[in-house]
Assembly symmetry: C2
Homo-oligomer: 211 residues x 2
DNA sequence: CGGCATACTTATGTATACAATCGTGTACAG
DNA sequence: CTGTACACGATTGTATACATAAGTATGCCG
C-alpha cells in the first residue's frame, strides 16, 4: 500500500519542508525523490485524500488550517478520544494495559524541556490507547484526525505547568481503564483533551502565529 | 478532484456490480469504462483509501466486512451521530432547520414499502443533519463511516414497525434541535442509532445472509 | 502418485511520450 | 492608464510502452 515515496513526501509535508504557498509541482517532486511522475502523482493523490495537501486551482499546495478549522478538528477529537478511552476501559487486554503503563513510565522519566521527545512519546501513548479499544473504525478515525493537525507541531505539552498535569491525567486514566470503568475513563479523557484545547486557544491569544 | 471514472467505479462497487471475490483487474475496468489504465489506477487507489476495495495479494477486490466489523463501525457511528445531533442543536441555522423539516415531511409522505426511497431519503436526512453541525471534520468522519457500509443495502428501515418509530424519532430530534437543546438531541440520536443496531443484529440472527 | 522446482503467463509497477488545459504576460484598443 | 483579448508557456491529464514480480501450470524427480 504505502509506497516509499508516499511516505517520504508525507514526512516532508509534516516536517514543513514546503512553504504553505509553494506549488508542489510534479516535476519538482520527481527530481527530489528520483522517481517518475506516476508514483509522484499517486503520492500526491493520497496526501490530498488525507487532507495534507489540497488543489489550489491547478497546483497542489500544502494544506493550511485556519484557527476555526483547528478548533473544529479538536472538538471532534475530544468526542473520539472520550469514546476511545471509554471503550478501552472495556476492551483493553492485560497486554494493552502493560504497554500503556510502560509508556507512561517512559514519559515520567523524560526531560520536560525536550518538546520533541514529549510530543513523540505523547503521540505513542495516544496511539497505544486507541489500539487498546480494538476498534478498527475508531482507530482509523482518530488517526485521520490526528494526521490533519500533526503539522502544527506547537503542542500544548510545553506550556508552563502542563506536563505534570498531563502525566497525572494519564495515570488517572490508566487507573480507570484498569478498573474497567468506561465512564470515568471517558470523562478523564474528555477533560484532558478539552484542557488541551483551552491551552491552545490561550497560546493562540497570546501569539496568533503559534497556531 | 473526483474524476468521472472514479465516480462511476464507486457507484458500481456500491451497487454490488462486482462479486466479492472477483478481481478488479485494470484491464477489465479499462475496457468497461473506456479509459486508459492511468485514470483507472487512480480510481482504484481512491476507493482503496475509502475502504471500498482492498488488495488481496496482488489483485484488488471489493471489500467485504464481517459482522464484527459492521458492528464496530455502527458503534463508532452512534458516537458520532450523537455528537452531530448535539452540535446541530447548537449550530443549526433557521435554514438548516427548515430543510430538515422539509425532508421529514417528504419522508412522512413516502410509501413505507418502498425500501429504496426510504433508504435514499433517510440518507439525505442524515446528511442534512450532519451539515447542520457546520463542522467539516464531523461531516467528513461521518461520510467516511457511512460510505464503508453503504454497500450493505439491507437497511433496518423496512423492519416491521420500524418506519413509524424512525419518523417519530426524527420529529423529536428536530424539536430538540429547534429548542437548541444539545443534550436531548444527542440522547435521541444515540438511542435512534442504537435501536438501529439492535434491529440489525436481530435481522442478522434471523438470517445471517442479510448482513 | 505426490511434491517441488522451474518456466511461462498475466497483471501490476514505472517511465515517458503526447494531449489538453490553465494561468500568465503582453499587446492593443478604448 | 486600464481593461480585455489573444497567444504563449508551463503543468497537469491521459495513453502507452517497457520492466518487474506474482501467480500458475507443467514436468521431472523422489
Amino acid at each position: 500500500m504505502a509506497s516509499p515515496i508516499h511516505q517520504r513526501l508525507r514526512e516532508d509535508v509534516l516536517a514543513s519542508v514546503f512553504a504553505p504557498d509553494e506549488p508542489l509541482t510534479e516535476a519538482k517532486l520527481t527530481e527530489r525523490y528520483g522517481a517518475s511522475r506516476t508514483p509522484v502523482r499517486e503520492a500526491l493523490q493520497r496526501l490530498e485524500q488525507d487532507g495534507l495537501v489540497e488543489r489550489r486551482g491547478k497546483a497542489v499546495v500544502v494544506r493550511t488550517h485556519s484557527a476555526e478549522e483547528i478548533i473544529d478538528i479538536y472538538e471532534s477529537r475530544i468526542i473520539l478520544e472520550q469514546a476511545a478511552a471509554a471503550k478501552a476501559a472495556v476492551k483493553a487486554t492485560a497486554l494493552d494495559h502493560q504497554l500503556l503503563q510502560a509508556l507512561l513510565l517512559k514519559m515520567q522519566q523524560l526531560d520536560p524541556s525536550d518538546g520533541r521527545a514529549l510530543a513523540e512519546t505523547n503521540r505513542a501513548f495516544h496511539s497505544q490507547l486507541w489500539h487498546a479499544t480494538h476498534s478498527p473504525s475508531l482507530i482509523g478515525l482518530l488517526e485521520r484526525l490526528d494526521q490533519q493537525v500533526r503539522r502544527y507541531t506547537l503542542t500544548t505539552l510545553t506550556y508552563p505547568g502542563r506536563w505534570p498535569v498531563v502525566l497525572a491525567d494519564y495515570a488517572e486514566l490508566l487507573a480507570a481503564i484498569g478498573d474497567g470503568d468506561p465512564e470515568r475513563a471517558g470523562t478523564i479523557a474528555a477533560r484532558h483533551m478539552s484542557d488541551a484545547l483551552t491551552i491552545r486557544l490561550k497560546m493562540y491569544a497570546e501569539d496568533p502565529r503559534t497556531l
